[in-house]
Symmetry: C2
Subunit: 824 residues, 2 copies
């Protein structure tokens, strides 16, 4: 890492801004605007050295002009500042629609052609640059993975600031210049992401500089923040912990030089203020650094600035009509063609590009050099910065077991002790993000090595809590914020995980979608280096929210995830503490995946020794011979499948009943850790071949499968398998409430007694022979329910294998809660 | 509706607050707190008239104390205000964990026992009240549907204020008292929902009074808003458009009377301010009413207020340790049992309840009467207030077709014209909510009858835009906000729909979950009246986001929805304008469902006359004889199934090719509108019986099915069908980018040419006989792609049936965009 110094402009010793400086900035801006308009409209004649004809215009005009000139303005000015202060910077484009702008700027600075040599810095390259934009076989219209310098697509709005803070954490030298559209500012995730400043340390983290791009309009409406008084807007920004610097331009005839001078001076003032904050924090020291009022910029300019003032008599510049493609008939009507020609000419391209189509040297000199160019920043291609985690031996944290189920452990708590080691050994590039649930999910072991980073106020009562101004756990009650932070952290080359309740991870369904899409596309871009996988640890899962009730019970995130490309998604359901350890050791080593790990936090049996667990996890699924009753060389009469910790308990309990009550029944027990193993090898890289599947599940034996989530997912994964017609799945069928843990499984027919009945019903001949056992099972269910309804707890029989502690009240530990909240 | 007058206290003529008033409030508060603690801990001995023993304590202690005393305090004070001013009010409990508090208050006011007579207002009722809480067979721990007066569960946090504004719209007499936990305040949806005040009209809508319950802690962390300076918090609230009234209590030894007096006076001041705003708006008139700075209350009190100060030497009151069950060993240790006994006794139950266990009359008199009791409000049981929509004849808006596909229409635009009628005829109880996409989704016809409600500032450029201070379309760029508003609107007895892009509706996956769960539970509660269905109109769908690219392409919301209970969810894919009309006429008449309707906004063929469309929609699916080539009485050689507008176009084009090129092939075309028809009749009320399914799809003929979304959903819905082994599904397989519309379908092998190849591959004998046709189809695909890559648009051949206008640029309309934004 460079030994960067945050300097005031005075410190840099550069000369006072003069006219030439401002003209250079203006020329860059015009060039970027020209290239932006060119990309949206032109198929050919990129330098306009001949009169524009209809053939030069694209047949389908696709793109978004409205936000683009503002982005270009900011990029131009930032170039100067970065260059003068040697300031590493990342440009986050909240209004991702402004794709043409970011492409234009990275092309002008040269970083684009370095990535895409065919888009050369000459007339031919320009022509290709224009044609490819939003064109079949070309590049997307947004600031997509294809765009150099981007870690943020901005197609779905709301995450610019969360990504920015994620990028800034532990990158103390980095300026994250973050443009927030005023449309985006209306989204929920963005509205809360301003509070990221309560979690960023001015000494050890980078600086997020938010720019609220107040251009006034969305697709077809004014924006809220553009239509409240400036006093309210100021108050809002101050309330968010920022000092607003307000800049307004473009609404009158102010000369360009004056506009640029005002903004350049404002930007210097802001950068100087940041340098002051950094210097103060340095002096206070990281452990004592106080949260400052960080600067932010309100950038109020017209939508479609510099574009046509009116089209067909209707106001266009400064109106939502500029949002997309204002001159939509440029190829169809002479009038619009002329308008387009006038518009392009207004940027005076002849003063910008030479006869070969190269940007004039003086203008090009505005850009910083090398990696300081924002399109060339390694921060925006995080895989380049990524260093493998140092992972200590997880086997040291194994739960020692003498026999299957002989030991009881809280799986996530055991994992937490090892994660504590990981945090100790990787203090600068591994973080855990979570919505106030790290301790509730029993990962408190990490606090042996680190703290929760907190830059809010402190109170005397905080003593004893693992809060500090520097810490690698970051908790805010917003899944959006946590997810965005983690994404930004990973995209800039680091590692981490998100810990959440299973039900509420649906809150970020759409963010997961976008990240999975990003990964899919980057896999196809050679210059994008692989980044660390995004890891979810989902606990407090559907079967152990009996005390919080129905609203907290939902296992559907897995279903959502498996809709995405097979090469991206992985789902693990480790049944105990040791398999969870092994699973996490694996996922923390992977790149370019989304790994979903669902694990229990309650005390539960440990079934496998560490060595067995490693083997089992490596295979992803396997027959547990010790749990079944089949004889070598014989086919089983029934296969009991299970995936998930609670289904595994119930299946093993059912197998025990069958073993005792029908000793001659040949039962095979199969446990699945890696859910994708069930899918066809042709559909998922982890998928079993049909032959392998048949070897394990057989092609013709009844299978009773107890699954953690919605049962139909297992059908979906296996519908092409030979044995599918014999497959009977139990899972969560949306029957939940506040009750006891065992009543929860009974309500969904996933309990041991019902599984025994399922076996009796499905293995030919058993039903009639064992009518008595069937009745007994039904009676047992009734008894268990009656007991729960009367006494409020489960009967002892089903408390074997650890139902007893599930109430989250610490009861069986014989003491009050003292280590973090338990459950929300 | 009552002819309510918003009054200042002075206007009401009630006497000045005296000591007795304040004592009554305090007594109510103590009673509510006592009942809350009792619910969490006690199995018996509800009046503590004998010494507490371990047997009186529940074996599993489940619930949340922390937020409860604050809620109880607010409820007590609000009782007085409601009573004095005859003010209809709804209490929205953002911190839904405070379930015991709301149960306690509604019990005290009598509305609980009216709903649940077995929970009588005597000692026996008290015992049952205590036992049932968070107990198997009892009631949930949250403010759930079972709780009288609730429209908001609050298990998943973030939606209290959106629900509140939804409830307030068009309920001008209603006060929506909305408690927001400071944990919830950190969520994204809540953070933006404050801006609801820019959409509420002070004359025609009700009043939302937000109370930020600043008790300082979440599960295991302090909250952000409690740990910023009061100046920042004030600024934030002012920035949100509110005047904050700050109340702090509980951190010192202030006498209860003084505490109550201060809050009572503050609440009167706030209510008087509201009355002033209402009076002013009345004077200005609805069309000119200005957005005021609405009051809000910052309510800073200790978490677990009045609970144990310390437990085992650790600070508990005013700390996160109060979040859940602070005395978790009350049944296990003498010390904790004594603590519990002391805690309960501190409320002096003997002064609150008589020997029979009835609340003393004087205390009970604090509650208002009848429906003014918040637990008895019909606003909170909206089905009681619901009036069927007046629906004019949608057939008047039908597109007249002479032959299938003979007319071209934009389906959603046609729907919009009829919805305009609906809005005209139901001006007070029908609204459309959307994230800035109503016009983009082509529903602009509604602006013939109404406007977009907008209380932000106006500018001269707004002229001509359908914005007004009163309007029934509400647009803010937050799917969360729109969904929350719609839910609140429906839950209080009105009708509406949400219009959104298909891909981004995933943003509210989790909100949908919670609403679906709410509906499922209310179905089981006799006193809950049915509310209108929640209707989604999803347009700008996966196949027509070719210009916005991959980030905008996702059809997975349907998959998400069908995980919920079959009796709740309905999914429709009308293939054209007339079927869309018929579908919407149906869904607007339904109750207690979530209806998902996916429809195109681009010009597309109209296949069916209105009469045919009605019949087709009534059946939900059907054979389109005119499109196929089967002979009466003969079985088809192949079935081409389709669901969705684009798949329908491609299937019909494929059928045409087959008709022309293999005239003797007997092809059956089946179109599916109601997706749930595919499911088994035993699994979904709309499901076909196996016999019906076989009649339509056959049991043994190859089926090539072109589906709008992810193909495996069709497998999931049909895996038990006889014909399933012959079913081959094409759909979106996550291959998207910025390209042409036809390239989009080609990338996913859903195009007509590929469907023909699929038929050749699947009907025995065809593959070898028609090798030439196969090659031709492959050539046609190649040619179509090459053309697109070269020219940027689709070839004419595939532009039949309306590809041409899909670029959203208005090109083929030969003019510029003038009617609202087109696409984001």
């Amino acid at each position: 890492m460079t030994d960067h110094v945050w300097t005031t402009r005075k410190d840099t010793g550069v000369k006072k801004l003069d006219k030439a400086d401002l003209q250079r900035i203006d020329a860059w801006w015009r060039a970027a605007n020209y290239l932006s308009v060119g990309q949206i409209y032109l198929l050919d004649n990129p330098l306009m050295r001949t009169p524009l004809s209809k053939d030069h215009v694209k047949p389908r005009l696709l793109g978004h002009w409205g936000t683009t000139p503002g982005l270009n303005f900011l990029y131009a000015h930032l170039n100067r500042v970065i260059d003068e202060r040697s300031q590493p910077a990342l440009f986050i484009t909240g209004p991702g629609h402004g794709g043409p702008g970011l492409v234009a700027n990275t092309y002008l600075e040269g970083s684009y052609s370095e990535r895409y040599p065919q888009i050369s810095q000459d007339a031919d390259g320009l022509r290709k640059l224009f044609k490819q934009f939003s064109f079949p076989g070309g590049i997307p219209s947004h600031v997509a993975p294809e765009t150099p310098g981007s870690i943020h697509e901005g197609g779905e709005l709301g995450y610019a600031l969360s990504h920015a803070y994620g990028a800034a954490f532990d990158n103390k030298d980095l300026l994250v210049f973050t443009v927030i559209g005023d449309g985006e500012a209306e989204t929920g995730p963005l509205a809360t992401s301003w509070h990221g400043n309560k979690f960023a340390n001015p000494a050890t983290d980078g600086v997020v500089l938010p720019v609220l791009h107040l251009n006034g309009y969305k697709i077809a409406n004014p924006t809220v923040l553009a239509r409240i008084g400036q006093d309210e807007l100021d108050a809002l920004m101050r309330g968010y912990g920022h000092t607003p610097y307000v800049f307004t331009a473009g609404f009158d005839d102010e000369a360009p030089e004056s506009v640029h001078r005002r903004f350049a001076e404002l930007l210097d003032e802001v950068m100087d203020a940041i340098a002051g904050i950094k210097a103060k924090a340095e002096k206070q020291g990281a452990q004592n650094a106080e949260r400052p009022m960080w600067p932010m910029i309100v950038f109020r300019t017209p939508k479609g600035w510099t574009g046509p003032k009116k089209i067909d008599g209707k106001v266009t510049e400064g109106h939502w009509r500029s949002h997309q493609v204002p001159l939509s008939s440029a190829r169809d009507t002479d009038e619009h063609l002329q308008d387009l020609s006038d518009w392009l000419s207004s940027y005076r391209p002849d003063e910008l590009f030479d006869d070969e189509g190269r940007l004039l040297d003086d203008i090009a000199s505005l850009a910083p050099e090398g990696e300081l160019r924002m399109g060339a920043s390694s921060y925006a291609n995080g895989g380049l910065r990524r260093i493998d985690l140092k992972l200590s031996d997880f086997r040291d944290h194994a739960v020692k077991v003498s026999e299957p189920g002989g030991e009881i452990a809280e799986a996530t708590k055991v994992l937490g002790t090892w994660l504590g080691d990981v945090m100790r050994d990787n203090p600068d590039n591994f973080r855990i993000f979570g919505p106030d649930e790290t301790a509730s999910n029993r990962l408190q072991g990490v606090y042996e090595s680190t703290d929760k980073q907190w830059l809010g106020d402190y109170e005397p009562n905080d003593e004893g809590d693992p809060m500090a101004r520097v810490g690698k756990v970051v908790e805010m009650l917003s899944e959006h914020q946590c997810q965005g932070w983690l994404e930004g952290y990973l995209l800039t080359g680091r590692h981490g995980l998100m810990s959440s309740y299973e039900a509420f991870i649906h809150i970020v369904d759409s963010m997961f979608n976008q990240h999975a899409k990003w990964l899919k596309v980057t896999n196809e871009i050679p210059w994008r280096s692989p980044i660390s996988s995004l890891n979810y640890l989902l606990s407090s899962h559907v079967w152990r929210q009996d005390h919080n009730g129905f609203s907290h019970q939902d296992p559907g995130f897995i279903d959502h995830v498996v809709n995405k490309k097979a090469e991206i998604v992985r789902v693990y359901l480790p049944p105990d503490a040791n398999t969870l350890l092994s699973t996490f050791d694996h996922v923390l080593r992977t790149t370019q995946y989304v790994n979903v790990v669902v694990a229990g936090k309650q005390p539960g049996p440990v079934w496998l020794s560490m060595d067995e667990a490693i083997k089992h996890c490596t295979r992803g699924l396997g027959i547990w011979e010790w749990a079944g009753t089949e004889q070598p060389g014989e086919n089983p009469d029934v296969v009991l499948g299970c995936a998930g910790d609670i289904p595994t308990i119930e299946v093993l309990a059912a197998a025990k009943i069958l073993r005792e009550r029908i000793p001659d029944l040949r039962v095979r027990v199969v446990n699945v850790v890696d859910l994708m193993r069930l899918q066809d090898a042709r559909e998922h890289p982890h998928g079993l071949s049909d032959r392998e599947f048949d070897t394990i599940f057989t092609a013709d034996t009844p299978i009773v499968f107890a699954y953690h989530g919605y049962p139909w997912l297992i059908h979906r994964l296996t519908y092409r398998r030979n044995g599918h017609d014999n497959l009977h799945v139990r899972g969560f069928k949306e029957e939940g409430t506040t009750t006891t843990p065992f009543d929860m499984v009974m309500r969904n027919d996933l309990d041991r007694y019902h599984l025994v009945i399922d076996v009796l019903d499905r293995v030919p001949g058993l039903s009639s022979r064992y009518a008595g056992l069937r009745q007994e099972m039904q009676d047992a269910r009734l008894e268990a329910r009656m007991h729960a309804y009367e006494h409020g707890e489960d009967i002892d029989e089903v408390q074997d294998w650890v139902w007893s502690d599930s109430g989250d009240t610490g009861k069986s530990k014989g003491g009050p809660q003292t280590t973090g909240g338990d459950n929300d």
